[in-house]
């Protein structure tokens, strides 16, 4: 399962997608909305995605993992829209016969997801400002609230 969704993510959907009787280890990663970024209070986050390309890139990451570890049970889901503090923005589950590979593959999936999957995050600060996040810096500032 590789999916962009506007629905609440619980983690159960990815876990169920990878369940298998021969997989003894399930590693699940959940990214949740933090109440601050580098100490600055955040009110909420907004995520935007390019869904067909994002889902295609997720499937490519799964293919990379199949090549590297021989693991074929992986699911990724990312939510878009406005998310409140504590809500899950992204969930990745990997089921494998052995846990070491499962941890490595799940972490790899998250790293690659952050690199190549077209999803953007906009931080809405407690002071009313909002900005699109880019790697290692704020890409662009805008005080206006998108609708």
């Amino acid at each position: 399962m590789f999916k962009i969704t506007t629905e609440v993510i619980t983690g159960a959907e990815v876990r169920e997608a990878v369940a298998a009787p021969d997989a003894g280890a399930v590693v699940l990663f959940l990214g949740t909305v933090r109440n601050n970024t580098d100490g600055r209070p955040v009110t909420c986050l907004e995520y935007e995605a390019y869904p067909p390309m994002a889902e295609k890139k997720m499937a490519e990451i799964a293919e990379e993992i199949a090549q590297k570890w021989g693991i074929h049970r992986i699911a990724m889901i990312h939510r878009t829209g406005k998310l409140d503090i504590g809500q899950v923005s992204v969930a990745v589950a990997v089921a494998s016969p052995h846990r070491k590979d499962g941890f490595a593959a799940c972490e790899y999936a998250m790293n690659r997801l952050k690199q190549i999957v077209p999803i953007w995050k906009r931080e809405v600060w407690a002071d009313g400002e909002a900005e699109w996040v880019k790697p290692d810096a704020v890409f662009f500032d805008t005080p206006t609230q998108r609708t």
């Binding site: 995520y47 390019y50 390309m53 190549i116 077209p118 999803i119 953007w120 880019k134």
Partner: protein, 84 residues
């Protein structure tokens, strides 16, 4: 030829639209689109070096040739880098 061009995140904001149809001359590449956008909004050029482009859901370069019906997108930096 006609292509669809999509704008996300900061590009969506800068250009104030999420997508549009563009009619381009035969032989156009991704660069043709970038130049056209630069005419409308010169400051966008300074973002080009950190931005990526896609054609039909695959990353592309400015030299990638376009064909009728292609879906092109401007891809600002994704959320990566910043650790969750």
């Amino acid at each position: 030829m006609n292509v669809t061009v999509k704008y996300f995140a900061v590009c969506h904001e800068i250009l104030d639209r999420s997508e549009e149809e563009m009619q381009l001359p035969e032989g156009s590449t991704v660069k043709t689109i970038l130049e056209r956008l630069e005419e409308e909004w010169p400051e966008i050029a300074e973002f080009y070096e950190v931005m990526q482009m896609s054609v039909n859901w695959e990353y592309a370069t400015e030299h990638t040739a376009l064909a009728e019906g292609d879906e092109v997108a401007l891809i600002p930096p994704v959320t990566g880098g910043r650790d969750v």
